[in-house]
Every structure is written in structure tokens, then in C-alpha cells.
């Protein structure tokens, strides 16, 4: 045994200083959305003429209750469901009364018989889109589905628990389990449910799922500890730490917004499979789908490998062309927004001040995209 006469004193000092550091320097709530977007870009969620939400940032049952009520109040029209990421819910250098393209589209098309509604979550991968679509098609009478397909988001994998907390609590599962990607998503939902219920993860196929005393006590203790600010703030601490690591990594390796983002084969394939599942499910149910390559800042060098980006676009187009009777409409809007309508974002590393924003544009850009999408909807009609 290591002899250290002062070990207990050292540990006591360390416990006290840890408490001091955690409560003094990390007590505030960090808005990670703002960290990702920077100060120039603002999150804006579209509303209808009465100010009711037509745009959710997560599939949250508590929020969606009002979402559905407002849809009923507008006359329960067939829905055009819009799926999106931060480009959908962000406006660069927003001024007063400026709204996003979802709201512009909603207002312009409400009298044409469909109600535009949107779910957008930051960096949403197509596996998350598939889950969102699977959930909402059971609640709303979807007529059209609009899916922007971002090359960036093809690098994302799986689903994120915090955007689907209520679905996880409700043990939601995608009903069509004939495809591999549904099984993968269902497995992840189960895993998150187990984590949420403090059920210890196990890889052992021989171990049945049962709620044990361990889980009951852990759940009870955590619920009570959550009452204390210092304990409740732990997710923020983890977020802060990972955000710092992310910036450190970018600084060390010189990664910027303009750095080439390589395709990750397995993730790319899983996301393509999810896209195929969305399109197949919706067209087989008679819903028309608009898939589009979203706008990107085109007046500077793109942060993609040009061959991979071209292959990606071709693959989407081939997928859309494979369906008869214009059931799937493919559009490429990559270059419709001119360079001056884009802005900058906060640095993604520890030294630079700000960087080119390839994803989020100004209000005028939203107007251009809304017009283009409106025409695509006309074409699909």
C-alpha cells in the first residue's frame, strides 16, 4: 500500500476545490444551439397567421400537442410535411419581421389546399428523418413530403436521444421492420429507453430485460439529486467539455468550415437506405415526395470532395427517377442563392474569430428558396 501521510488531506482539499470550480465556473446553462450557429445566425421557428407553431425543432409530444391542435384549427387540411436541419430554422443576420422559408411557403400555399408544417433538427441525418416521418405519418394526413438532402448530414449516424425524448419514453418503434435500417433505429431507441430508465446496458444475449432494484434505486436517487442545481447541471458540463474538445481538435488539425468533409461509407450507405425507406414508404401510401439538394455557398470552394459530391447528387437523382408518375420530384437548388446572401459563423476552433457559413443564409435567401420550392410543389401537383 502506498504510504502517503497527507493523502486524506489532499483528497479533502481536492473535493472542496472541485466543488468550488464546478459551482463557480460551470453553473450557468449553455445554449449549445447558439454555440453551433454563432451570434450572426438566429433560430427562427415558423408560425401560422395566429402565431401557432407550424414548425417544431424536435419530435416532442408535449410540444406537438399544440402543433396538431393548431392544424385542426386551420381546418385539418392535407399536410405538406417539411423535414429539415438548421438551414431550415436559421436566418443569418435576421432583421425585424424576417421569417424563414417554411413560414413564407406556408402563407403562400395555405389557400391552395395544403398546410405546410415542418420538423427540423440541427444536423439531422436521414435516419432521423425516417423516424420523424414514420411517427408523423400516423398523426397527420400527409399529402406531400419535402426532404432536403445535405451532403454534410450524410456523415451523421443514428438518432440522438435528446431530440426524441418522448418517443423514447413511449417505447416507440418503427413498424416496418422488414428493412435493416428500421431494425437499427429500433435498436437505438431501445438502447436509449434503457438508458433513460437507468437500465444498465448489457451486451449479453442471455440476459433478459428486467427492471432490477439497481435500476429502481438509481432512478429514484437521480430524480432526487436532480433537485440540486449542481447535479442537474452535469449534462451542461459534459456538453461544455465536448464542445471544448471539438474546438481543440479543430485547432490542432487546422480544421475549418471550409475543410473538405470526406464521405464515411457506412454512414453514407445507412443514410441512403433510410432515404430509400422514406421514399418507398411514402410513395406506396400515395404521398408525393420532393427531394432536393439544398442551397450551399457556391461562390467559394465547396467543402466537399468534388467527385464524391457529384456521385452523391447523381445517386439522389437516380433514386428519384426510379419512380413513375412524378411520385418523386428531384430538384437541385445548390447554387440558387448568391454569395452576398450568406454570412459568417462563430469559429469552430480555439483561435479564429469567425468563418464562412456554408449552411445558413439571410432572409432574401429564404425568399428565393421558398419561391423555388413553391414551383417544385406546383410541378408535383
Amino acid at each position: 500500500m502506498m504510504k502517503n501521510r497527507y493523502l486524506l488531506v489532499q483528497l479533502c482539499i481536492s473535493f472542496l476545490s472541485s466543488y468550488f470550480i464546478v459551482t463557480t465556473f460551470f453553473s450557468g446553462e449553455t445554449k449549445f444551439d447558439e454555440l453551433a450557429l454563432g451570434t450572426e445566425t438566429v433560430t427562427y421557428l415558423a408560425v401560422d397567421a395566429q402565431g401557432n407553431a407550424i414548425h417544431l425543432q424536435k419530435t416532442d409530444l408535449m410540444e406537438s400537442d399544440g402543433f396538431v391542435k393548431a392544424w385542426k384549427a386551420r381546418g385539418s387540411k392535407p399536410v405538406t410535411l417539411f423535414l429539415g436541419n438548421s438551414q431550415t430554422h436559421s436566418i443569418n443576420q435576421q432583421k425585424e419581421n424576417e421569417v424563414n422559408y417554411v413560414e413564407l411557403l406556408h402563407k403562400s400555399r395555405l389557400n391552395l389546399g395544403t398546410d405546410i408544417m415542418c420538423i427540423s433538427i440541427p444536423n439531422a441525418g436521414l435516419q432521423e428523418f425516417y423516424l420523424i416521418y414514420d411517427y408523423w405519418k400516423k398523426i397527420l394526413p400527409i399529402k406531400y413530403l419535402i426532404v432536403p438532402i445535405f451532403m454534410d448530414d450524410m456523415r451523421e449516424d443514428g438518432i440522438r436521444d435528446y431530440y426524441f425524448a418522448d418517443l423514447i419514453t413511449g417505447k416507440y418503434q418503427i413498424s416496418d421492420t422488414s428493412i435493416l435500417i428500421s431494425k437499427k433505429i429500433n435498436r437505438e431507441l431501445q438502447t436509449f429507453w434503457r438508458a433513460q430508465q437507468q437500465v444498465v446496458q448489457t451486451n449479453d444475449v442471455h440476459t433478459k430485460e428486467v427492471v432490477t432494484f439497481q435500476e429502481l434505486s438509481e432512478s429514484f436517487l437521480n430524480r432526487n439529486l436532480e433537485r440540486y442545481q449542481v447535479w442537474a447541471n452535469r449534462p451542461n458540463l459534459r456538453g461544455e467539455f465536448f464542445n471544448w474538445l471539438y474546438k481543440l481538435r479543430n485547432s490542432v488539425f487546422g480544421i475549418k468550415a471550409s475543410t473538405i468533409r470526406r464521405m464515411i461509407p457506412q454512414r453514407y450507405n445507412d443514410n441512403m437506405e433510410a432515404l430509400r425507406a422514406i421514399v418507398k414508404a411514402s410513395t406506396s401510401e400515395g404521398k408525393k415526395v420532393i427531394v432536393y439538394i439544398p442551397p450551399i455557398r457556391y461562390d467559394v470552394k465547396l467543402p466537399y470532395d468534388s467527385i464524391q459530391y457529384t456521385t452523391f447528387k447523381k445517386e439522389i437523382q437516380t433514386l428519384a427517377d426510379g419512380f413513375q408518375d412524378k411520385m418523386v420530384v428531384y430538384k437541385n437548388f445548390e447554387s440558387i442563392i448568391p454569395g452576398e446572401l450568406w454570412g459568417y459563423k462563430a469559429a469552430t476552433n480555439l483561435d479564429a474569430k469567425r468563418e464562412i457559413d456554408y449552411m445558413h443564409f439571410k432572409f432574401k435567401g429564404h425568399q428565393i428558396l421558398a419561391d423555388s420550392l413553391s414551383k417544385a410543389l406546383d410541378q408535383a401537383n
Partner: protein, 488 residues
Amino acid sequence: MVFNSVTFIIFLTSVITFYWFLPKKIRMWMLLFASCIFYGFWRWEYLSVMFISALTDYFTAIEIEKTPLKNKKRRNGLLAITLVVNLGLLCYFKYLYFFTENANSVLNFFNIDFSLPLWRVILPFGISFYTFETISYTVDVFRGLIKAERSFLNYGLFVTFFPKLVAGPIQRAGELLPQLKERPSFRSIYLAEGLRRILCGLFLKVVLADNISPFVDEGFAQNAATFSAIDVWMLAFLFGFQIYFDFSAYSHIAVGAAQMMGITIPENFNYPYIASSFKDFWKRWHISLSSWIRDYLYLPLSNVKVVKTTGAGGIGEGLETTNQQAKTKGLFLTWAIMGLWHGANWTFVFWGVFHATVIFCERKLKPLRDRFPFFKISLVGWAITLPLVMLSWIPFRAKSLDDTFMMLSKLASFKNYTFYTMRENSYIVTAVVTLLFLSNYLAMIFLEDRIKRIPTLSFAVNCVRFTIIIIFVFTFLRPISQFIYFQF
């Protein structure tokens, strides 16, 4: 109960408090009761399995001791009861599904239209560990190395003692029983040392192992056919570190919890990834298992008489004189069993045979190695051993033997070294973890003693180090995943 939970922290605090305040006799009962609660927090009904194993060995050991040495038949019969009951429990709970599944494959292969029903049986936590402990106890009594314990309270506590119950270190009765019976006087250093070890263990588990885990899980979930050689190396290293942090974390906490009661549990790890040969690796990795396997499997299988057993490896008579054939047979058989002990899957058997093969090659190449001084440098040995050890983790983690062979085959083609397929973070994390491990080891070798010579500096460095560890443990403490070795 899992160590990485708030429940365990409260449980341990209560047990330690009672332990140091209660009188001796009551304290023993309290510890036995607490150990049962610890186990019952997972599934209380499986306490009965543990007690079947414990009671069998308790009575057979006493009977063996009572039986004169010349009555070999009765002694052997009693030992057989112990082995049948313990190995029977192990086979039923751990291998029933595996055996029936394989039997069905054989029947199918011979076109026999019959299949055995497949029963999925819940695997009781720690069964591989406590059955090994009870077996070793009876075998040691049989060999005349220790006396049979007459008090069931003491013996029950040896089996159920909660810090090492679920995933070791595998204890020998001769080492733990005397400590349980004799409580040392309270010293604050026990609490401080124990707490230090627990904090280190929690850091390794909740900060390192649990955060490496998503990268490993994502990697091994991929289609093995799409991997490049770089991916395979990366996954081998990453899982190698994950399992090391995870398992050594458990051992740190086990040792720390026992230390808080003034009880010494043998160390299970000693920087295994700086080993300069596979033989050296197994003196540093899961030491309690490798020494157990040596004392109760390898030496008997190699026709060597064991004259002393300890947690650090026993002493055998005639090891040097036994013939090579017996040693080689013992080596491969031991390792195949060792692999199967880890899990009911052919991948584990392959893992065991892989290790046996490398150790066999090391033995065969020893004369050659001795002729070239270059190979005697431990750095060269390390540079050869580390990648091979890491590669051996592939079958340990892969979903199937097919995946294992597919992944290993990727290493053979130069073309597979020209691309990579996973997210960049996976490679960065692997590199950082490897560098941190090595720098931590070098710091321990070259800096620690120098710092200790300056008391003020040592005091300050320790305070900073513990503060960082406490903040990280506080931030990341969540029972999101069990310890990997719980499934064995």
C-alpha cells in the same frame, strides 16, 4: 449492483461506516448481509445459485479433510461432486444455448431432421468468478495446501465478499479468509487509499471506457467487408484500450473498496500494454485469472505437481523437467478453455488459441532470440507484442468468426492500407489514447519519484490531479453501461 452508480456510492459509504463501528462478530454478519444485498440488487433470486455452489464446496471440503489420504476413492469422489456441481452450474447457465445451438448445427450438417430446443437462460452475474473461487478452495483443501473452513459465516463471506464478487480479482481462500477473520485497527490511510483507488477506477470507467465505447460499438457494427486495414488496426487498438480501462477500472474499485476495510485484494493489472512478450503480457493482464488457470489447469495438464497456490501464481514441482509434448498439450488445452471461459462463442476459443499459438512460437523461437541481442531489447519485444496483443482483441469483440477472419484478412493486402472508412474522430481518439497511455507510463517511470522528493510539489500535484479526476467523475458518472467483464 454496479460500481459506476450513485447507489453503490451510498451502499459503500453505509457498509464502511458500519464495518468500522460494529463489533467483530456482528461485523462479519453485516458484511455477509451487505454482500447479499449487493448481489441481490441485480437479481435476488440468483443468490440461490451462488449459495448452491458455496454450500457444496463448504461441505465437500470438510469431508475431504476428514477423509484419510489413503482413502483416495472417497476423496476423489468428493472432489468430483464439487467439480460436477460447479461446472454443471457453469455449463447450464453459460453454455447451454451454445451447446444446443452447435449440436443442432451438427445434426443439420448430417441432414438429421431433429433439433434440440434452444433455451435462453439468464446468465447470473459473476458465476464464472465465484465458481472458480469455490473450486480452487476445495482443490486446495484436497491438495492439503489449506485447512477446510469450519465456520460457514467465514466461508460464506469468502465467496460473497462484495468488492470482488462479480468480476474478480479471483481470490484464493488462503489469502482472503485470514484477513476477513482478523480486522486490523482503524487507520485513516485505509479510507484515503481506498478512496483514491475508487476515484481512479471511476475515472477509467466513466470518463475513458464509456466514452471510447460508442466509437468501438459503431466500428464493430459495420459490415466487416467494407473495412480497410487501417480501420482494423484502429478498432483493435481502440477496443484494446476500452477493455483495459473498463476491466482495470473494476479491479481498482474492487481493490479500493476492500482497502477501505483494511483488506488487501491482489492487483489484477500491471501496465499490460508495455509487455515485451505474450508471456510477460499474461503476468500483467488479469493476473488473478492467469495465475488461477496456471495453478488449476495448466500445471496439472502439463503433469506438474502444484505445491503452493497464490494469487500471483503458484509453485509447481517438476515444471522444468516435464516433457515438451505435455507442456504443449497443456498450453493449447488451457488456452482453449480460457477462451471458452470468457464466453460461449467460438470467437473466444479462437482468441484463446491465438494466444496459445503466439506463446508456443515464443517458446520455439527462444533459442533464436537468444542468439540475436537485438531481440533481447525489451523495446523491440514491446513493438512486436503490442500490435499482436491488440489484434488478438478482434475475435474477442467481433460478432462472429466470419467477421473475425474477414477483418484479419484485410491486413494482408497492401491495397487495404491506402484508404480508411470511418469518421476521422475514431482515428484521432485512438492515437490520443495510445499516446496518453504511453506518456502516463513514462511519467510514472521518470517523473513520479522526482516529484515525490519535493514534498510541497508532490502535495500540490496530487491535489491538482485529484481535483481533475473528481470533476470528471462527477460530470460523467452514469450507469450507462455495465462493465465488460460482467458478461463473463
